[in-house]
Amino acid sequence: MDIAVLVKQSLDVQELRVDQDTGKIYIEDAPTKAGDIELNATEEAVRLKEKLGGKAIAIMLSTWGSSGKRQKEAREALTRVLAMGLDGAVLIMGEGAEKGDTYVIAKVLAEEIRDKFRLVLAAEGSEDNFSGLLPARLAAELGWPYVAYATAIEVEGDYVKVTRSLEDFEEVVKVKLPAVISVTQEINKPRVPKLVEIVKAKKKPMDQKDFSPHVEPKLVIRELKVPKVERKQIVIEGDVEEAAEKLIQALKEEGVL
């Protein structure tokens, strides 16, 4: 049974620089990487594949531009998941992809997946946008069942049994394959690839395809801006004890303490 893992090229949000004064976000300067929850999806795909046979392939549709830098980063991110044990990767990249909304992206991914895979694993949300919409849209596009927030997955013949972790209880559902499943970080502990596995991963097949959608996005992002944080600018005076007293008082008034 062949499995597709959706691996998003996420902005490394820890390295995202913003200008508090102007609200500008320096997106081009921020590096990208494979999202953390995608590593869980990868781990799960590798475990299933090891048990059931077949191939597990990473699919990445890059939406942060197609510059040389982004291309290199995308390949590095894919190398990392390949090193965890996937068999190959498909990288879809090109002009216009940065404007793609989940509607367009689901359409493009569906074409790539439809006849080739029986199971799609994805992260419950991406590390940068975390809209969590894509797997559901993709399932709708494919006409396959969708199960979200999986904490355990078991394939039983033509069916897959999925444990979902909800607020107060766990739910176990059974759906017929082919299906789309999104996983949470609780599902497993992703393996850390060894050096030799990274070296080998660089030689695994990586297919680069051009992004060429047949539809227009429905959602247009006009501007990305940092929310403004207003400072209170309270100056506390007095000797140390007095000042400390006043500070505690002020913090209490703000409800911080």
Partner: protein, 429 residues
């Protein structure tokens, strides 16, 4: 057979150049870098002298991400809120460039990759893999072993590779100085205007004075395209007992430097975008590093090829040149099938014909600059003397000679030793 012909530890300038040259010759090369990306965490003051990189990539600045070519050299003396600046203007001839490591190191590492080296980032090497007294590979994090005919240790100033292979003693507090640096963003035109630069030209400015409170060291400013690199270098490794004390002291001195009226005007309206600190091993320590053993050579900072001039540090060009010599020696060793220490000693031979001489000259200059008075008395006297020359008030003016004599005796310096000091300072520049 080993997994790779060569494993290079560290993708700083030394590591990437060695990787590039050996991969270009067709050897299988694995380069392992601890940082998320090559250069991600690497810092330096700000200027690369071109000579050694030019031997590998002629006119590299046309392609490499350099910032500005240095055509203005400024030496400044600070005393209280006053200061003197001496400025040397030169013609652009490709001699030295300011740059930012994150971009530059990545460019060099890409060169190595394009030549065929496997560059893997985000992996820490624990140490050399040693069997029967010879280095046969590396031990990577997670106790993973990887074999190589030759290992090149390019892991920087702290080099655990060299230490674990028994090529250098453990570094102790007395053996290092500390550097701290900030990157402050300013619009291009503002930089060119304030520093008196034309397009693509840059300034390197060094300052000594009471800023460091008698400790050897000082402040520096290098202009980039749209930012300035500013920082301080100080020999406080031996004075402070705790890391936290060192970093507070460095921060305070940096703040003091930035708020000096002469420095402040360069920075007004700028935005702090980066802060970093790094240790700088002292010359005496660096002189004691052995350069090779069976199956391994040490290059760049790891080999001690770095000179701390007090206010500025120079090591990038030496790192690159030593990597070139090492690649040459490793090539011969691999070709002859003999990677023993004896065969690799060719590395030291190549270096002693060229770079080691230059390095020794630089180190001697540093020995001359050990005199703490260069960092305290001289700046003070310089500022006061110029004030004496230029400022006019209602009191009668003493003649310059007797003024100087008086100032010197206040500092406890005889006229003769003042001349000697001046001579030393000039010689070492």
């Amino acid at each position: 057979m080993a997994d790779f012909d060569v494993i290079v530890v560290g993708a700083g300038p030394a590591g990437s150049v060695a990787s590039y040259l050996l991969a270009k010759r067709g050897y299988t090369v694995l380069t392992v870098e601890r940082g998320k990306r090559p250069g991600a965490k690497n810092m330096f003051g700000g200027r690369l002298y071109s000579w050694s990189l030019e031997r590998i990539f002629p006119e590299f600045w046309k392609e490499a991400p350099v910032e500005r070519e240095v055509t203005k050299e400024v030496l400044g003396f600070l005393h209280g809120d006053r200061g003197v600046e001496i400025r040397l203007s030169t013609k652009p001839e490709g001699r030295s460039f300011t740059l930012l490591r994150a971009k530059f190191d990545q460019w060099l590492a890409e060169k190595a990759e394009d030549a065929g080296a496997e560059v893997i980032s985000g992996f820490k090497v624990e140490g050399p893999l040693i069997r029967d007294g010879r280095v046969v590979g590396i031990v990577a994090e997670g106790d993973e072993e990887m074999g190589a005919e030759v290992v090149i240790a390019a892991d920087g100033a702290l080099s655990f590779m060299a230490e674990k292979a028994g090529l250098r003693p453990k570094l102790s507090k007395e053996d290092f100085a500390v550097g701290a640096k900030e990157v402050i963003e300013l619009p291009k035109e503002v930089i060119e205007d304030r520093f008196g630069l034309s397009k693509d030209e840059g300034a390197a400015q060094l300052y000594v004075g009471d800023l460091t409170e008698g400790v050897i060291g000082g402040g520096f400013i290098y202009t980039n395209k749209e930012s300035v690199s500013l920082g301080v270098v100080m020999r406080i490794g031996s004075l402070a007992s705790k890391v936290s004390e060192v970093s507070t002291a460095m921060w305070e001195i940096t703040e003091k430097f930035k708020s000096h009226p002469m420095i402040r005007r360069y920075l007004e309206g700028g935005k702090l975008v980066e802060y970093s600190a790094h240790i700088i091993p002292e010359t005496q320590f660096m002189r004691g590093v052995k350069l090779y053993t069976d199956g391994m050579v040490v290059v760049g900072d790891a080999a001690g090829f770095c000179v701390n001039y007090g206010v500025t540090v120079r090591g990038m060009d030496f790192a690159i040149e030593s990597a070139r010599a090492a690649a040459e020696a490793v090539h011969h060793a691999l070709e002859s099938g003999d990677t023993s220490a004896r065969s690799l000693s060719r590395y030291q031979e190549i270096l002693s014909k060229g770079m080691l001489r230059e390095l020794e000259t630089a180190r001697k200059a540093v020995d001359l600059m050990e005199d703490e008075r260069l960092y305290s008395s001289i700046p003070r006297i310089a500022v006061k003397t110029l004030e004496h020359l230029f400022l006019v008030d209602d009191k009668p003016k003493e003649n310059l000679y007797s003024f100087l004599r008086k100032e010197l005796s206040e500092e406890g310096i005889s006229l003769l030793s003042a001349l000697l000091l001046g001579w030393k300072a000039l010689r070492s520049m």
